[in-house]
Subunit: 356 residues, 2 copies
């Protein structure tokens, strides 16, 4: 699994970012501000850029929002994606405003000629379109009854996606990214697995409406994690009822866990038990808080006792193994100092500053 | 994947709980209190029981702790597991104190006769033993150099596990549970996958020293999630540098996501975007806080707008779809009322109380 084989996908250009093929799996998010509020939206996107967001999507509920994309785009550095539902004219306006990609759910755009208008405009602007199937927004087409099995719903989502792909291809539009999100994790996994066998367009993956920070992170980690481990997924978005900065943080943690991207600190911490004689939680929390801004890949270990402590601390770039009211600091596998508990955080951070 | 095929494993009895075979995947945790402190340890275990912990482990660093197990066991309702390192006499004392299972890492117990003494005592007490291989505590045997590939480390862990299994079997001891934890998620996954092909003993799975709450939850969800999705795993422990109650909560969320256990609320929440006109985060947070104690399986949806809102709200047992400063409440797929934003939380919780 270390040399995980990625599904072979077509390369797609979203502004300056490329996805698909052998390009790194891009981390994206979506603003939670009102897109008509230029200042708040730009501020949120700038914060997202700082934490490593590589593509950002904004909702386009009306004409004011569609026109405002011009003002937003001027001030930001990452590709901007317009999210359109129901009204194809908003898609045309968004393209006119210079977005780098649009996302539509063709199922709620209406008559075919409207979809074809969007395809023409995107083609002449040379931007890709994501076909974003979402189990919640396609219930008229997808759901026959409540509580269908996840495999049944997945099959319906895939058949819907394939019909849209055929329409796009019939109109000579191949610059396609696909997503098949459901709030149910197994449905989502099944849908992507099925579609992966049927086309080579790159996939935007995620669990939709996954929930609040902790449960939403769990569903997203399992769903996105399983798909990525099977080589499926070219860009990811973690959907959380939480700050979009958390979506990006969780996204990178998922990719780091699977060794698909490197970014910032990997913090190994013992969960502590009756054996622990120093306050590991406090030390780990302080170190976490002080390392969130680091982008250089570093492995740190904060361990409580002599059972696994020295082993893990030696494996880390910088490690700490606790004893009775003291701790031993390891750097690149070698002991460098023994420190009293009260000085541990300070000394550890001092050593850390020397290596990042 | 909905009818996921579990690996065929031997059934093992841990006090009143059975794992392996077709028994539900049990959720366990470990106390973080000093095992010599009877009152704190019992209190922590009672809180763990309340949130659904099914097996609890305590560290036994010395004789006082080993003897104190008697006092702890008297007051608790779930099986008690003793965790022993280095000193085989502590294992004998723990068995004498009436533990329901012991966990040892035979690699740090010393000479073979000491391990055999433990096997004899466990056999006569009719309790199982977990062979707990941990990459961090076996570095002398397992690691040849720093930064070996995850597949290499996994192979060494498995070969060590197999040698201990042979020793146990030679001594006619078959009441075995196995774990092969590493702080690296891919190493852990690879190790369990390899060992799954070589024996039919049940597995205790988890990522060791996974980290603080959020990153630790991500690594655990991916590692445990991937293994469970392949049918591997008979009991799980999420190792977090956080309250053990969070370990149990995360454990159940993982099992619920994969539809392997049912317990409490599944809260679908839209992540919100520029389309949202009510304060979804506040509503979701309040609902989350007020539903953590519910054990009846219920699907709730809190959605912001008309794109996916009505679809998801209809699928839920109780759902809420926001509009302009108001929300519509759905119950079992039908609209039951339209409520002003300021009354939404109260009305939603009122309806919820009627169904749990």
């Amino acid at each position: 699994m270390e040399q995980l084989t990625r599904r072979k996908t077509r390369e797609i250009k979203i502004g300056k970012v490329r996805i698909g093929g052998k390009f790194p799996i891009a981390v994206q998010s979506m603003t939670k501000t009102d897109t008509r509020d230029t200042c708040s939206t730009i501020n949120e996107i700038k914060k997202l850029e700082e934490v490593g967001c590589e593509i950002v999507r904004v909702a386009i509920p009306d004409e004011v929002a569609a026109k405002n994309l011009k003002n937003i785009k001027k001030e930001i550095s990452i590709p901007l994606v317009g999210d359109i539902h129901f009204n194809y004219k908003l898609a045309l306006m968004a393209i006119d405003s210079g977005v780098d990609k649009i996302r539509i759910n063709p199922g709620n755009i209406g008559e075919e000629y409207k979809i074809i208008e969007i395809l023409k405009a995107a083609k002449s602007a040379k931007i890709p379109i994501r076909i974003g199937i979402n189990s919640g927004s396609l219930e008229k087409y997808i759901y026959k009854k409540r509580h269908e099995s996840s495999i049944e719903v997945a099959k319906k989502m895939v058949s819907k996606a394939l019909s849209f792909i055929r329409l796009f291809e019939k109109n000579k539009f191949f610059d396609i990214v696909l997503s098949l999100k459901a709030s149910d994790t197994l449905t989502t996994i099944n849908a992507y697995r099925l579609l992966a066998e049927k086309c080579n367009y790159p996939f935007h993956i995620g669990i939709t409406e996954a929930g609040t920070l902790l449960p939403g992170t769990i569903k997203s980690s399992i769903g996105i994690g399983i798909l990525l481990s099977e080589g499926i997924g070219d860009t990811i978005r973690v959907s959380l009822a939480s700050s979009p900065l958390n979506e990006v943080r969780v996204g990178y943690e998922i990719l780091k866990t699977l060794k698909l991207r490197k970014r910032g600190v990997d913090l190994i911490v013992c969960p502590t038990c009756g054996r622990c004689e120093i306050d590991i939680f406090k030390i780990a929390e302080e170190i976490e808080k002080n390392t969130l801004h680091i982008t250089k890949p570093l492995k740190l270990a904060v361990m409580g006792c002599s059972v696994n402590g020295p082993g893990e601390a030696k494996e880390a770039d910088l490690g700490l193994a606790g004893g009775k009211k003291l701790g031993i600091i390891f750097k690149f596998g070698k002991i460098i100092k023994k420190v009293r508990e009260e000085d541990l955080i300070k000394e550890f951070l001092k050593e850390l500053r020397k290596i990042y």
